[in-house]
Symmetry: C2
Subunit: 136 residues, 2 copies
């Protein structure tokens, strides 16, 4: 198992970079708007994993509502899997509650799906399919 990234909900990516760049000394990797999920995303390299800062495009988005309800902070963990479709079928057969029954496109155009926190001990879990050779 590999942690692809940790998603952190922030009000402002600009303000948050002070901590990650200044204090932890990481460099910003890339910025991307994911309209589908209502967020602007910045990925910060952390050895083999990344920190994903998520800034909501508006208050009326999943991350905007999360911040209104719980404040800024840890939002989700994303694990890498070899074959996402196969993994989702496996999870369905185990009776887990999924937010996405089928893979969809997430950050960096990769295939992702979310598992409901109620099936993962209160943690919002994202699964991402491993990059194939030559990709990314």
């Amino acid at each position: 198992m590999k942690i692809d990234h940790i998603g952190i909900a922030v009000k402002s990516i600009e303000d948050s970079l002070g901590f990650y760049e200044g204090v932890l000394g990481v460099e910003q990797a890339g910025r991307e708007v994911i309209e589908d999920q209502g967020v602007t995303v910045v990925l910060l390299p952390a050895d083999e994993s990344r920190i994903e800062l998520l800034e909501p495009l508006s208050e009326d988005t999943v991350v905007g509502k999360f911040i209104a309800r719980r404040g800024e902070g840890l939002h989700h963990v994303c694990y890498e899997v070899d074959d996402l479709t196969k993994k989702l079928d496996d999870l369905k057969s185990r009776g887990l509650r999924l937010l996405d029954g089928y893979p969809r496109r997430g950050a960096e155009g990769r295939l992702v799906a979310f598992v409901h926190p109620s099936s993962a001990g209160g943690v919002l879990v994202e699964l991402v399919e491993k990059r194939t050779e030559g990709e990314g």
Copy 2:
């Protein structure tokens, strides 16, 4: 920067292992009681990082109160630093709010310190000193 581990607050380590062992296919690394922090800890290997499951020893502990207030879920992120004392001095000089002004012993006997969430964008951040050669 390297993510040493992600700390997840759980009511029961036994119950949570079903998800991590069964669904994610990880194997349990080791179990440790940290009286000082009022938790039982299990570290699950995740490539170069680990998932740390934290089960409170009682309701009247930091993690016990966290679960009562917010439910099970993501609790903290731990980053590895080269020299913890030097890093803490640096953070103090920047005016960051620390929960530990000086390194103390955490899981696996390693030197750790926590940064207050108010100084880290709502995230409880733990810092751990890098293992020296021949250690651990």
